[in-house]
Symmetry: C3
Subunit: 271 residues, 3 copies
Amino acid sequence: GPANSTESLNNAVESSLPGFDVTMDGKLRIITLNKPTTKNAFTLGMYVGFAKLLKDAAEDPNTTIVAVTGAGNMFSSGNDLTAFTSFTGTVREAAEEGKRCLNIFVSSLIDFPKPIIGVVNGPAVGIACTILGLMDAVYATDRGWFQTPFSALGQSPEACSSHTFPKLMGSLKANEMLFFNKTITATEACKLGLVTSVIPDANFQSEVWPKLKEWSELPQKSLVHSKELSRQFDRELLHKVNEAECDRLLERWQSSDCMEAVMKFFSKNAK
Amino acid sequence: GPANSTESLNNAVESSLPGFDVTMDGKLRIITLNKPTTKNAFTLGMYVGFAKLLKDAAEDPNTTIVAVTGAGNMFSSGNDLTAFTSFTGTVREAAEEGKRCLNIFVSSLIDFPKPIIGVVNGPAVGIACTILGLMDAVYATDRGWFQTPFSALGQSPEACSSHTFPKLMGSLKANEMLFFNKTITATEACKLGLVTSVIPDANFQSEVWPKLKEWSELPQKSLVHSKELSRQFDRELLHKVNEAECDRLLERWQSSDCMEAVMKFFSKNAK
Amino acid sequence: GPANSTESLNNAVESSLPGFDVTMDGKLRIITLNKPTTKNAFTLGMYVGFAKLLKDAAEDPNTTIVAVTGAGNMFSSGNDLTAFTSFTGTVREAAEEGKRCLNIFVSSLIDFPKPIIGVVNGPAVGIACTILGLMDAVYATDRGWFQTPFSALGQSPEACSSHTFPKLMGSLKANEMLFFNKTITATEACKLGLVTSVIPDANFQSEVWPKLKEWSELPQKSLVHSKELSRQFDRELLHKVNEAECDRLLERWQSSDCMEAVMKFFSKNAK
């Protein structure tokens, strides 16, 4: 596993891209979010990069299972908000580029044909939390917490969370996160179905990786067929939900609600 | 909140109708079921009245969130069974009028575009329980309990509960309520996903209302978009389910199963 | 109930078939899996036989509720793997016959119009576990455990479990069973929604049967309508899922993954 950096280096695969480390452990492919300066936040480039990494994983006959984890203490802080301030074009152009990249990123998860497992080594915020609903299993350290502050930032749900979260948790529980910015612990997330199981932080790495490696030795066709069966009748709807969510965000990202919230975020963090 | 009757009177809005109090607390609109003689049971007139109140709430730009609660110790005892005995026309006409009013009532909940939250201050029976599945969050006092005695009264599910309850609880849990008249506590309802969270009765009013008022200050478009995203791909099916349920009830209300059960109910209560 | 063998004999109905006992207790019809030599495993003949028994139950006006239970200490060990070794034709013919029988069996559960309840008196493996997701309620002894070793046997989900398990448990929990062969206890199954409630083994028979008999006295039309409402908008999809699962299994049963796994199973059991 990625906890052992020597092993990681030895098994590094060439398909890695800025912001990610990609390693193989037998037939288990591990994608590690690695951008310490922004707590593994996703830039627009990383959205497209991640989709490229999944394409590689899908095409590699030696990859049976993909794990996604984070370097350091966070899983990921979510969407890199500097995208809102650093873009050189108009606000509309920035929002459209954001929408395009987000759509590619989420589509790649909807269509990924092999089991993909979240190894949540710390807090997961925003898009780093919502993508878990498109994965096949999620293991979280008890240090983790989960937050999707959409309306607090003048935004709205993404990564099909408006569909997957109600399906996983029931709508009456999901809406506290989706509408009202509720933060939940890993234990709460596990009760609600957003996390498959929680592992004490001290044992997290040593418990998760051997299990995943063992599973990656199972018959690949059985796993791929099982995933396809559970995804195929939902896939068309998931793509529609992704489109609808991206359309809403295109409007939201250009709204004063969003601009003011993002400005407030940066001025608070600058203090 | 409605616990403070002076404030309620001060903020009373003109749109109120028989059986309801309607008040504003900032951008939070509170609809209180208030018919002490029948423990807040819904008459046919109240079904249509409630739909009218939701139309007002949807159209008012100053309303961000709607809360529904009950006056006194009950949330509501459900459908007012005197509709079965007081109607002046034929049984078929009574059943058809019941179906028409129920359909309008449930449709208004399916289509309501803003977050609507159940503030369940006591037991919720029948339709007062089933409508919770069409709301966006439900907070319940620990004094509350939940019951849908459909087959005990020779009837069948309504308010889309044949769809929402299995979605919230899983079918194997939901059917104990939907088929077999099981009564559950607030704590059980919370585990099953029919209640977002349970609050001790002593703190219920003081905990719920400030939270809801705070949420009503969130960006309205973020809330409306979030709700639309989670409802839009389910709305057509919900209307079909409502139609199907109303059709079944039209038959049930004219059946001897139902008539005998209702007669038994009144003769038991008359003792 | 079937615990009382004298009563069972007295109430035996003529429609029983090899591998099953069928008895009536008032309006409650009890189908008992009874094949001690293979721990109540389903042969191909039993798949078709079970569908025939459900047809009888649907057509009998005196049957309100059907219960399915197992004789002895097991509920059922699942698919009788000797079907793979005893068939006289080609592997392809064996797989096609298996697919045909499985499809009939699962279809009969999808279409059954009355409440059907699992009375899980012991461990439920494979198809005996997956069919529970198509039932309307499931009561399990605390001695029970649940396992669907699809990929361990080179196979893939069946009985619509690729649809019902994620719906009941949430996909992130369900996939540990569906993809990765996880065994769960009755208590875990209850938390996950695969079991309605768990009963201590000492009281299991004495608690379950009176409750089911009482429910069988409820108005039959209310029960049938309630079931139809909760099934009708899902039925078409369930049949599609069944078809897709059977197609996948047709391929899997002819694969070397499956053959090797079944051989290993028999050689291990032969020691």
